[in-house]
Amino acid sequence: MEAKLRAVMPDRDLLQLYEQMVLCREFEDSCAEQYTKGHITGFLHLYSGQEAVAVGATHALHRDDYILSAYREHAQAIVRGAEPRRVMAELFGKGTGICKGKGGSMHLFDPALSFMGGYAIVGGQFPIACGLAFAAKFRNENRIAACFFGDGAVNQGNFHEGLNWARVWELPVLFVCENNFYGIGTEVHRSSALASIHKRTCGYDIPSEKVDGMDVIAVYQAVKHAAEWVRENSRPYLIEAITYRFRGHSMADPGKYRAVAEVELWKARDPILTFTKRLIEEEVADEDQLECLKAKARVIVKEAVEFAEQSPWPDDSEVTADIFVGEQEVCPWQ
């Protein structure tokens, strides 16, 4: 039986989860619109449907725990605290973007938030997460590295090298697989000999579990427990969150490899809808309150778009800046 929401966390936090999921959904819907208008170009991978994973997991982590992700990472950055308007400006390629317009949709990064990047080579973040965890351990910092990745990443050598390495060096890494069943158009059982991804860690002596990635509270509870285990034991752990993306792999993908009925079935389990229902049923909030929060999210996203539109393009001098740091220049946070 499911625990009552209020037994898990206070109302304020429950509403924050709702607010963040709604903000992410609104943000992604707006990105799609701006893409069709030609304001956002290049690759654009939207997170719609998977919100419960980023929101539930991030809420369960410490503020200074490292987060790394792949290229479907707008939500992860925003939930961690990146300003939506600076993320949107990045997507527009503007100089006010979170990475000065040099990274774009797939390479969001903000070290002040311990958000250590979106990586667009599948599985590229595994060893980097291990390195950050090593540095944290070496420096006696009480932080772990949470490494998010998709089901498509688990057949890269980096996944296996990273898991093995994290166990051998006893590194505090929490691996979070967002299994949305498709690596672009290839369904997980057509690419993975063992489609139940969390079971793969037995070869590396790493504990793991599966969680309903459409349920923000379930994700929160699983990650909370796992993150504390990782922190206490300085050992890796893996969570497989079963989820679904409501849109194609990217804006270029009409998603014809998935049956309409399948998509509809998952949409009926929309993490925002189900959470809304629970919040109302358990009288944490009423419809008006939730509608009000949704309206607030829409305003934030609208302002983000306006900010991005009005922001200046990067100066031409930026094209050669930032490759190297000068001898004297050192990042203040380092």
């Binding site: 390195g131 090593f134 590295a145 390495w165 800046a321 490759i323 990042c331």
Partner: protein, 328 residues
């Protein structure tokens, strides 16, 4: 000044920098307990302990990726690749990640890390263990590329590399490990990047070289001097940044140039240097620039065949004689 080997000079640079800065750490395959397959890391585990000197699984891409993460997290890692040939297994982390992270994240993070890798041919290790891959790394913007020829340069450049806040690829030549030379003792003996050194002055022709090719060029120059040809040997020391002014300046003086590269000729770094000479001082040239290069074949095992694939002193001598006899 002390006389020591190239291997010991590198070992000393590592020790001095690890003593100086507790955030310097080193890892790689068999670098700790086994003390390195070329014994470059001898004694480090004993002196600095297992937290700072670490053996790794045979997972080259992850060896580099973990260094990237550790550098982001505030350490100054040195990642040793057992040989540069294995860098090809790590090209994803080296090229797709290490060289791009600072730029694509808008300059918000530094990667103060060094990759050390022995390489080069001439030990009869056959096709998969004899490559000279310097051009591969020189091609990608985003890292410094160091190729020392002498023990002193190896020490001074490695110390600079470890203190640098940017990623550095430090290529050691396997055949130079036992070579000896004078090495300054000063604890802050640092050599700058992008500063070639004229290892021998001359008036008739410029030989541009790097790493072991510099040693061969100096031997060739000595031989040629007996015949009245005075070569100026420019040792590049770093390929990125490339000290174009140094070799173009030298060629302006001598009017002739031979470029020596151990790597394959096709699209090799010699082509880039030659091109820069033409762009920089075409009007000063008295003869076409000549390249002495590695042969465009996978390295054979047999000693007799291997010799045909790697530039030899006599190849440089012949090239210099031909170029000095030529006129436009």
């Amino acid at each position: 000044m002390a006389i020591m080997t190239y291997r010991d000079a590198i070992n000393l640079a590592l020790r001095e920098e690890m003593r100086r800065d507790p955030s310097v750490v080193i890892w790689g395959e068999d670098v700790a307990l086994y003390e390195g397959s070329f014994k470059v890391t001898r004694g480090l585990l004993t002196e600095f302990g297992e937290e700072r000197v670490k053996d790794t699984p045979i997972s080259e891409n992850t060896i580099i990726g973990v260094a990237i993460g550790a550098a982001m997290g505030g350490l100054r890692p040195i990642a040793e690749l057992m040989t540069v040939n294995f860098a090809l297994l790590a090209m994803d982390q080296i090229i797709n990640h290490m060289t791009k992270i600072r730029y694509m994240f808008g300059g918000q993070v530094n990667l103060p890390m060094v990759i050390r890798a022995p390489g080069g041919g001439g030990s009869q290790l056959a096709a998969q263990h004899s490559q000279s891959l310097e051009t591969y790394f020189m091609h990608a913007p985003g890292m410094h590329l160091v190729v020392p020829a002498t023990p002193a340069d190896a020490k001074g450049l490695l110390k600079s590399a470890i203190r640098d806040n940017n990623p550095v690829m430090f290529l050691e030549h396997e055949l130079l490990y036992n070579s000896k030379g004078e090495v300054p003792d000063a604890p802050d003996f640092l050599l700058p990047f992008g500063s070639a050194e004229v290892k021998k002055e001359g008036k008739d022709i410029t030989i541009v070289a790097y790493s072991r090719m510099t040693i061969l060029a100096l031997a060739a120059a000595e031989e040629l001097e007996k015949e009245g040809i005075f070569c100026e040997v420019v040792d590049l020391r770093t390929l990125a940044p490339l000290d174009t002014a140094a070799f173009v300046g030298s060629v302006k003086k001598t009017g002739r140039a031979v470029v020596v590269e151990e790597c394959w000729r096709t699209c090799g770094l010699g082509a880039e240097i030659t091109s820069r000479i033409y762009e920089g001082c075409f009007e000063s040239l008295l003869a076409p620039v000549r390249r002495v290069s590695g042969l465009d074949v996978p390295m054979p095992y047999s000693r007799k065949l291997e010799k045909l694939c790697i530039p030899q002193v006599e190849d440089i001598v012949i090239a210099v004689k031909e170029v000095t006899a030529q006129k436009y």
